[in-house]
Amino acid sequence: MRATTRLPRQAVIAGATLIALVVLAALAPVISPFAFDALDLAHRRAGPSVSHWFGTDELGRDLLTRVLFGARVSLAVGFVSAAVSVLLGVAIGATAGWTGRWIDAVLMRITDAMLAIPRLPLLMIAAAILAPNVAVLVLLVGAAGWMETARVVRAEVQSIKANDFVTAARAVGAASSRVVVRHVLPGVLPTAAVATTLAVGRGILLESALSFFGVGVQPPAASWGNMLYQAQTTMTSEPWLGIFPGALIFLTVLCCNTLGTALTER
């Protein structure tokens, strides 16, 4: 029994890598070789070297340091927006699945509508209009990602609702809210866990795309996406400025998706 529930090796590696990234980001002020905005004017636009592992930018700032600090913003946006998405998705999906009738119909039409509007352009316009700080950006990205979770949770709540233990709980007079919280929602937890893992990756990708188009995280704050935004014009002369932040986005999202896929298949 234990052996069958163990995660596959690549999922363990992915999880360990994610934890390592979070720890590195959290410790960025302690472990990074240079200060976040320290200028080294003698070594501007320098390629990767022993002293600057990832090279330096046009002001001589150390790229490894900036990538570590950027990780704090990118990972925070990923994790918090995922929490927002999944909480919204569970709330909306559970309400629709539990109450049924017209509330269900209205909520599901709104879900369909949100799914039909292309997510990235929608977020780009919203971000351009609101010119958000990082906190609002997190809410925006989260608010654009609840639909898939809501659909799955609705279906699960509908099937859990038909179980005898739910009928029994209602028969002994448990309030509707108590039945939902104590008996229905625990059954939705595995789905919510998978959705969260996948939503972290999607949130990081969306933030990076928004920042890449100049409507996400604004300088002087650094996120992996806005580092790419600043690097794209000098991609031919200083390719490292774009390659490293993008590679970290790729690595992080890859870990989230590997973990999420492994959890789905269990």
Binding site: A116, P118, A126, I129, L130, Q232, G242, A247, L254, N257
Partner: protein
Amino acid sequence: MSFAARRLAQAVPLLLIISLLVFGLIHAAPGGPLSLYLDNPNVRPEDIERLKRAMGLDKPLGAQYLSWLASFVRGDWGYSYADGRPVTERMLERVPATLQLVGISTVVAVIVSIGVGVGAAMRRGVDHAASIGAVAGLSVPVFWLGLVLQLLFSNTLGWLPSSGRASFIGGGLADRLAHLVLPVTVLAVAHAAGWSRYLRGSVRLALAQPFANAARARGVTETRIVLRHALRHALLPFATVVLLDASIMASGAVVTESVFAWPGIGSLFTEALAKRDYTVLMAFLMCASVAVVMLSFLADVAVHALDPRTRNAS
């Protein structure tokens, strides 16, 4: 009522909700659609008042929504703030480039997904590699993949052009094809990743059905069972999945066209975004969403017409 009519009746309220969301989004801007002018010190307050009256922005929000919706349906999408030309005209001139890019990359992604999906359904080794490839394809930031491919194949190796649809001089067929390679690759990678996994799953499902076992019992080779029986079974749901991904295609086209300076609707969108050209942004979002709803309508109607099992179920 016929299935198509019932399905269309569902699409109409959906489109109305979408139009409300899009309208609400634009009017959430401080200053509404005129916020661009409010920030501009060269525009006098009386000019803003005049523009407000001219654009009907002094009317109640409900009336504004109705008149906007009515003119949108008529094809009157207003004028671009950036250059004053009709939005319809600006968008229509960009349509062919986008259709070409999205069409070709969809065809490429479909061919790759069928090849990889069938291979993965039949061989364990292929399956393992394909699943790693698919997760990678779904995880890579599209714009970064584009930048890296440009760096490698255009700037370093010099094999392919890095941007645009054709060279200024001497743009023959070979030149046009060369310009397509990188953007098509980038767009196709993201789609093929998801679609190949889906196809592998449905081929596997078909192979586990009694008809596949019956064919095996008759001595039909596994390859023939996959190609003649299981794949046929899997293709219809696969086609609907492709159509239902139109929303993701629209997002992908915006990013890819911008990175490769492809002169389509996607790069028109990012140009409009940089100038906060709200009429263009709104028209783009509405058109893309209407296209998504229409494609899913077509997919449902087509499946209903082609697959008798769905008729019995409903």
